[in-house]
Amino acid sequence: MITLAEEHLEEIGRHGERDYPHECCGLLIGSFAADGTKIVQETYPISNAREEEARHHRSLILPEELMRGERYALNKGLDVVGNYHSHPDHPAVPSQYDLEHAWPTWSYIIVSVQKGSAADLRSWEMQNDRSRFDEEEIAKGL
């Protein structure tokens, strides 16, 4: 389970709309509870590092950007607990490409942006054996 405030969900949707028809991406900064659930405190937008021609269907967060995000989180006593990206004109469901490139533990939030408007938003976590993503419950916090 991942807990986000309404404002975080709105921020992710707005980022997806802003970057449409390209994919947007960013980090989810927060903390892991003892039972492994995640609580998001902040979204951390990142510029999609993929080349212009690929940006409509691919996103990339470079290792340097992740390290920057991790340092930012650490300074606040927090962790990177996941990431988000948009699927322009596609459902909020992970692709095979997403699965092949996924890391365990982290939440993968996907927002579907249909004709420029944020629509469905869902969260996913990859199975330990890399076989598939399972949908993760989103709890709305304060």
Binding site: H57, L60, P63, L66, H85, S95, H101, W103, P104, W106
Partner: protein
């Protein structure tokens, strides 16, 4: 050579929450092999079925990307720090 490997957050569930591990190794590749021999469940997240490092797995020796050095054959010195840093790709 005794070196430290820093383990990224998403892989710490396989190391009992440990953020670092000390290993004896001559090369970066050997150090990663030691890590994945100790914590077998994280191996598939670092290596492909062909036993090569996954391309979104970035390995730094003292902040220098091993791709700019000799790759997994990059030689280590005593006290070096190895960082495994994810790239995050979506599509």
């Amino acid at each position: 050579m005794s070196v430290k490997i820093s383990i990224p957050t998403p892989l710490r569930r396989y190391t009992g929450g440990q953020a670092e591990m000390s290993v004896d190794a001559q090369t970066a590749g050997e150090a990663l092999e030691r890590l994945s021999a100790t914590y077998g469940d994280l191996r598939k997240h670092l290596y492909t079925d062909q036993n090569t490092l996954r391309h979104f797995v970035n390995v730094y020796v003292n902040e220098e990307d091993i791709r700019h050095g000799d790759g997994p054959a990059t030689a280590l010195k005593d006290g070096d720090t190895i960082m495994i840093v994810p790239a995050i790709a979506g599509g």
